[in-house]
């Protein structure tokens, strides 16, 4: 009984319900998924053990390789474009005294909207009949005649653009929070030394917000693995797998092709990759990196 009333365990009691829900919703399905990747289960009926057949097939699957390449591209895009824009905007916003809240709200607003709403807005904008293409055509200009979401060469970038448009406001807010925590005396000293605005950003702001900055990079890398909603709604991974990403590929196999065993193998590889990334960041932290 003393064990139950021990104060050092009280926090555990409060955490137990959440742990239980996680175990039920994430833990058990994850373990089941790990087991299913060694089967040919269709999602219904008999489960046959097939060993590593799914993985062998997967490593030979050209569309899976394409999806991985697209995920890597997606990660690179998100590690550069929204990050650079958000850093620049956040830094510029620190210099705005009046009306800053308006900009913050405006930038953050798309992040608050549901992905399906954002996607529909952009789909309508680029609709070949009702969208900008139709409008330009009506005034005799041949521009945007085809939707970038349905053009093989642009579909991935178009989906990434819309997702980036919704996401970068979030980065602005977290960078801005970090920038406000920088000691103002450092900037005053830099002013006395005659530092330019860029020098202050490069040598004071950036090093001082490094933990937040590295954290943002980490979440971008991790979130780029299961990227799904924007691709699914805007392009469905098409046309011709030109915007296929791993999570959408998994979904198609699990829920369209009735190939749950194969989809589980995809999920298992995604899981291993995320663990690897988290492990790297954990290792860097142990090595003394401020992240």
């Amino acid at each position: 009984m003393n064990f139950l009333s021990n104060k050092s365990y009280i926090a555990w009691y409060f955490v137990i319900p959440v742990v239980f829900i996680h175990l039920f919703v994430i833990g058990i399905p994850s373990i089941l998924s790990l087991a299913l990747c060694l089967t040919d289960w269709s999602g219904l009926g008999k489960i046959n053990y097939v060993g590593f057949e799914n993985f062998i097939e997967l490593f030979d699957d050209r569309y899976f390789k394409k999806a991985i390449f697209h995920n890597i591209l997606w990660t690179i895009i998100f590690l550069t474009v929204p990050v650079c824009i958000a850093l620049m905007c956040a830094y510029l916003l620190t210099g705005i005294k009046r009306g800053q809240m308006f900009y913050r709200l405006a930038f953050f607003f798309p992040y608050m909207l549901a992905s399906v709403v954002n996607c529909q807005i952009w789909k309508y904008l680029f609709h070949p009949i009702h969208g900008l293409g139709g409008f330009f055509e009506s005034i005799g200009i041949e521009a945007l005649a085809s939707s970038p979401f349905t053009t093989k060469e642009t579909s991935l970038y178009a989906a990434a653009f819309v997702d980036g448009w919704h996401f970068w406001g979030f980065l602005v807010v977290i960078y801005l929070t970090g920038m406000y925590q920088v000691d103002n005396h450092l900037y005053e000293a830099a002013d006395i030394e005659g530092a330019s605005k860029f020098q202050k950003f490069r040598y004071i702001t950036l090093p001082m917000i490094r933990p937040i900055f590295i954290f943002s990079l980490m979440i971008i890398i991790i979130w780029s693995v299961p990227v799904f909603d924007y691709v699914y709604i805007l392009t469905g991974g098409g046309p011709a797998y030109s915007s296929e990403v791993v999570a959408n590929y998994l979904y198609t196999h699990a829920f369209v092709r009735f190939n749950v065993g194969y989809a589980s193998a995809v999920g298992t590889l995604m899981f291993i990759y995320v663990i690897f990334i988290v492990g790297i960041f954990g290792l860097l932290r142990k090595l003394g990196w401020e992240i």
Binding site: S42, G43, L44, G45, K46, F126, H127, P128, I129, H130, A145, S146, S147, F149, T150, T151, K152, G236, G238, P239, A240, Y241, S242, T252, F255, V256, R257, F258, N259
Partner: protein, 442 residues
């Protein structure tokens, strides 16, 4: 006096409540559609409930996008509705193999269902020698055209490839799209076109032989069929002007394009009849339909592709199995109910494949639909029918035929390679006994 009135009213309420609660509930998860749901509630659910005192039918509507997955989850959990509605035989096969559907053989014998249904439609629900599903609706693919526009320009409705290419050139010269159609919102739309080209270029006999394994899908006749589709889709931009626009356009868009002369023709399934009648009806133009043109001498003349749009089965774990059977039997025993509901949809939905006579077709439906029904019965009755992919293709090749067709259209792989992959999937499906019932050809 007041006490007497209260007692009387209470007695009525109690008796009504008792009769409602004394009925055992039968549940049916049905694909939702804003236009159709009220009709199904009034003419199916309420009509059935009024017709007998034993069971209370409750239809639960849900969009197919989510319904298919939630149905699968509930069935896996040993739950699910009493009447299981699926989008086609490949789904029935999955459930049947998992032992989740009731064997309907004894009921079919008892109620004579086999004699009430079109033979090929009945056999589409027979798996491993037993009946597991009844078609809720059957359908075909047709070519619609703007009759007023064709008459104004003196265009001939095409029946051959040469005539089709000729009229396509004339339509394009007028600044219109040849066909309006698109896959936005429903990517499997591609399979409608693939099916048309396979059946009308290679011919139903060749398709039948490939389905039954007597011929390979790598046969040059199939490769040529899909090369022709690629030419018309990618090089000529027949559908909605370009491949990119075809991908971007959805149901509402292509009906609007058809109604406003954005395009002269439309390749589509018969499920469109209601929407087309309403859409083009507002524009003042008249629409017509025609069988899909023969695209080569192999096709053997006009044919109608046969397909099952939706199926009805009984959940093996149903709480009210007898009630579910009773509902199915009531539908099949009441031709008038089926005709009445199907007429409201211009025979585009709830076309339960009951054996009908020409005299059964009500005068309230449009003359175009009447002529289609008669022609369909005549031509398929002569054995000239083809095969829609969503009814006769097993699950994995069935997805491959539309999903990976985009890769062919994109020029990433050749038609030969595509058909080679397709054949491999059929071999795999055959090995795993996943092939679906196909009616024998005469």
């Amino acid at each position: 006096m007041i006490k007497t009135i209260i007692s009387f009213v209470s007695a009525i309420i109690l008796s009504v409540s008792f009769s409602a609660f004394s009925k055992t509930k039968v549940t049916w998860s049905m694909e939702s559609n804003a236009d159709r749901d009220p009709i199904f509630l009034e003419k199916l659910q309420n009509a059935y409930n009024s017709a007998q005192d034993k069971y209370e039918l409750e239809i639960q509507f849900e969009p197919n996008e989510t319904r298919i997955e939630s149905l699968r989850t509930s069935m896996l959990a040993g739950m699910g509705p009493d009447i299981v509605e699926t989008p086609g035989p490949s789904y029935v096969k999955e459930y049947q193999e998992a032992g989740m559907l009731e064997n309907l053989d004894s009921y079919a014998d008892e109620f004579g269902w086999k004699d009430k249904l079109i033979p090929w439609a009945y056999s589409s629900g027979v798996f491993e020698g037993s009946l597991y599903a009844i078609p809720k609706t059957h359908e075909s693919m047709v070519m619609l055209y703007n009759k007023t526009l064709f008459e104004e320009n003196g265009w001939k409705v095409p029946t051959t490839l040469e005539e089709l290419e000729d009229v396509a050139g004339k339509i394009k010269a007028k600044g219109m799209d040849v066909y309006t159609y698109g896959s936005s919102g429903w990517q499997p739309t591609h399979e409608h076109l693939v099916g048309i080209y396979l059946n009308n270029y290679a011919g139903p006999q060749a398709v039948y032989e490939a389905i039954t394994g007597e011929r390979e899908w790598t046969d040059p006749v199939f490769v040529e069929a899909l090369e022709l589709l690629k030419k018309h889709m990618v090089d000529e931009g027949w559908w909605s002007g370009s491949l990119e626009n075809y991908y971007a356009i959805g149901w509402d868009d292509f009906h609007a394009q058809f109604a406003t002369r954005g395009a002269a023709m439309m390749t589509i399934g018969t499920w469109t009849f209601q929407a087309t009648s309403l859409g083009i009806g507002q524009s003042g133009d008249e629409w017509g339909w025609a069988p899909l043109p023969s695209l080569s001498s192999n096709s053997g003349g006009p044919n109608f592709m046969i397909a099952i749009g939706t199926t009805m089965s009984v959940n093996a774990a149903a709480k009210n199995k007898d009630g579910a059977i009773d509902v199915l039997n009531w539908i099949m025993s009441n031709k008038d109910v089926v005709i009445d509901i199907a007429s409201d949809f211009q025979f585009g939905e709830f076309v339960v494949p009951l054996l009908l006579d020409e005299s059964d077709i009500p005068s309230t439906i449009s003359p175009q639909v009447t002529s289609y029904l008669n022609e369909y019965a005549r031509i398929t009755g002569e054995g000239n029918y083809g095969y829609c992919t969503w009814t006769f293709w097993p699950a994995e090749p069935g997805v491959h035929i539309w999903k990976d067709m985009e890769v062919v259209w994109a020029g990433d792989i050749s038609v030969e390679d595509f058909m080679y992959d397709h054949q491999k999937m059929w071999d795999k499906a055959r090995k795993k006994n996943e092939t679906l019932p196909v009616p024998l050809r005469d």
